[in-house]
Symmetry: C2
Subunit: 331 residues, 2 copies
C-alpha cells in the first residue's frame, strides 16, 4: 500500500471514523430542495421586483415555449451555478478553509510525524478566527495535507461529520443553514421548468459532495469541482479509490468551461457566479445559439450578510464586475 | 487562435457542417429507452432462465427492500456499464474506428496539407473492411487527427451525422440498431427500480454522446469516457470549447474507477463489462458494504452475433475471464 495512504488511513481511523456505510447521515434541520419552501403565487418571492427578476422570468418563459425563437429543448436545459458566494456564504473565508484547519488540529494531535511539518506549525499558531487573515496562497498546502491519503468515501464522510455541527465564525449559525434563499428559489424554479442544475466550483468537489446533495438536493454527479488525482488499489479483490496528493485540477476560470465540456458535454444556457473565476463560464453560456441567462451576485448587503468584492482575496471580483455591463451579464 | 484549431475548424466548414443548433437531430427508427419495449410479465424476457437471471432479480429485490441487510438507498443506486461489446456491437472493430476512417477520407479529400501526413496514407491504402485487420496501436494516431481541433459541439454533431446512416461492415445493419436487447431490458429494469445508469467507456466520450442519449436514453452527463484535453477561447465575448490534441485521458482499467470517483463520486453497486479493461470497475463495486451485481458479457453466440474473447486485439478478455469465478463475477 502507498505510504501516504497507510498513514492517512490510520489517521482517519484514529479520528474515530467508522467503516464505509450505505446509510448517509441526514443533516437534521437543514433545509433541502427535496422539501421545497412554500411557494405562494410568486416563485421568486425573495427577489426584489425589478429588472433582474423580470429578466429571469422572461428567460424561463421564452426558453420553455416551443413556439418561441429562444426555445431550448428540455434535454439541453443546463444550468451551472458557482457555489461559494453564489449559493452560500463564503465570507470571511470559505467553509473548506475552516474545515481544513479543524482537521489539521486533529492530525497534529494524533499524528506526531505529520505534526512536525511546518505547515501545521504555521496554522496551529493562529486561532480559528484568523483563517480569514491568512494569505490563501499560503493556506493551500494545508488542503493537500488534509484532503489526501484516505479513501474518497471516508473523506466525504469526514467532511459531512464536520458540517453537521460546524458554525460560521461571525454569525454563529451552521454553515449548512447559510444558503441564500433567493438562489434556492431560482434553482427550484429552474428545476420545475425542466432545467438540470449543476454546481461548478473551485472548492474540492468531495467537500461539496458532503453537503450539496442534502442542502441543495443536487445529486453527487451534478457537482463539478477541484480535485486531486485519485488512485485505485485492491485488497483481496475489493477495490478502493483513494485521494492522492500527486496532482490537482483546479476548476476555476477557463477550467470551469472545460470541466463542463468533460463532465456535462453540453453548453450551459443558465450560468450564475459571483467572481472573476466565473467569467469564462458565463462567456461559454453566451456562445450558444440562443441568449442565455447570465447572473452575477454582487455582495452589497452589509446588514443581512456581508459587503465585499474587489479586495476579497479568496475570490476577487474585479474584471468580471467591471465588464459585466459590456458583457451583458446581469448583476 | 491555435493553429490546429483554425485548420480543423476550416476543415469542419469544408465538410458542410452547419453552425451549432439547439435542435438535435432525431435518429429516426432508433429504439430508445424513452420508448421502452413492451414488457409482458417478464422484464428480462430476452434472458435465458437460469443462474444469471435469478441472480439479477434477487439482487434487485434485496437492494430495493428497506428491510433487507443488502438494502441500498436510492441515492446510492449507481449502475455502471461498459459500452462497446457490453451494450452494443464492437466486432470486428469498434464503430469509432470506422467513423475515424470515414472522416480521414474526407479530410484527405478536402485538406491537402493534412492529407500529406503518413497516417492518412497508411489508412487510405486500405479498404474500409480492413479496419478490423489494422493493429489498434497503429490506428490510434488517426483518432488524434480526426477528433481534434473543432469545437466540442461540432464534433458531436459530426459523429451524429455519420451515425444516422453508418452500417456495420458484416451485418449491413446500422450501428445504432445493433444494441443488445438483453442489456436494454436490464437497464430499463434497473432504471425502473431507482438506479441511475452511467456508461463508462474507453471510447471517446464525445463520440458516445452523439448517440447514447438517443439510443439508450442516458443523458450526456452520465457518460464517462476517453477524452482529449479541452481548450477554451472567446471571440467577441462568446466562449467556445474546442478539442485539443495535447493530452488525452484514456478511461480503461483502473482509470474507469478513478473516473467514476471524479465524475460520480459514489461507488457503483452494479458494474457490467466484457473485457480486461472492465476488471477494476467490477472490483471497485466489490469494495462496498453490500454485495454488488457484477456481470461480464462473454461473446459466445456465433449464430446471432460473433464469438470472440482472448484474441480480440481491440479489447482482449483474458485475465478477467480467467479470474471471473474466483472474483465472484457472473458471466
Amino acid at each position: 500500500m502507498h505510504e501516504v495512504t497507510r498513514r492517512a488511513l490510520f489517521g482517519a481511523v484514529a479520528m474515530g471514523l467508522a467503516v464505509e456505510r450505505h446509510h448517509m447521515p441526514r443533516m437534521v434541520g437543514a433545509q433541502s430542495l427535496a422539501t421545497p419552501v412554500a411557494v405562494s403565487g410568486d416563485p421568486l418571492s425573495s427577489w426584489t421586483d425589478g429588472l433582474v427578476k423580470t429578466r429571469i422570468l422572461t428567460f424561463i418563459a421564452e426558453s420553455t415555449d416551443p413556439g418561441h425563437p429562444n426555445f431550448v429543448p428540455k434535454s439541453l436545459r443546463i444550468a451551472t451555478f458557482d457555489n461559494d458566494g453564489t449559493l452560500w456564504c463564503e465570507y470571511p473565508a470559505p467553509a473548506q478553509a475552516y474545515f481544513a484547519l479543524s482537521v489539521a488540529r486533529r492530525i497534529a494531535e494524533t499524528d506526531l510525524e505529520a505534526s512536525r511539518k511546518p505547515i501545521f506549525h504555521e496554522v496551529l499558531d493562529n486561532s480559528l478566527d484568523d483563517v480569514a487573515n491568512i494569505d490563501p496562497d499560503q493556506y493551500y498546502p494545508l488542503f493537500d495535507a488534509v484532503n489526501s491519503g484516505t479513501t474518497q468515501q471516508r473523506f466525504i464522510g469526514l467532511c459531512r461529520g464536520w458540517l453537521e455541527t460546524a458554525v460560521h465564525p461571525i454569525t454563529k449559525r451552521r454553515w449548512i443553514d447559510m444558503v441564500y434563499q433567493p438562489q434556492r428559489e431560482l434553482m427550484a424554479l429552474l428545476a420545475a421548468n425542466g432545467f438540470t442544475i449543476f454546481v461548478v466550483t473551485g472548492t474540492s468537489v468531495d467537500f461539496v459532495r458532503a453537503y450539496a446533495p442534502v442542502i441543495y438536493g443536487i445529486p453527487s454527479w451534478q457537482l463539478i469541482g477541484t480535485s486531486y488525482d485519485y488512485g485505485f488499489e485492491t485488497v483481496n479483490g475489493r477495490g478502493q479509490v483513494f485521494v492522492t496528493t500527486e496532482e490537482n485540477t483546479v476548476v476555476t476560470d477557463l477550467q470551469k468551461s472545460t470541466s463542463i465540456a468533460l463532465q456535462i458535454g453540453l453548453r450551459p444556457v443558465v450560468a450564475v457566479g459571483n467572481s472573476d473565476g466565473d467569467l469564462e463560464m458565463l462567456q461559454y453560456a453566451k456562445g450558444g445559439p440562443t441568449p442565455p441567462l447570465t447572473l452575477l451576485v454582487h455582495h452589497t448587503d452589509a446588514d443581512r450578510e456581508f459587503a465585499y468584492d474587489r479586495n476579497y482575496e479568496w475570490s476577487p471580483f474585479v474584471s468580471a464586475l467591471a465588464d459585466a455591463s459590456r458583457e451583458g451579464f446581469t448583476l
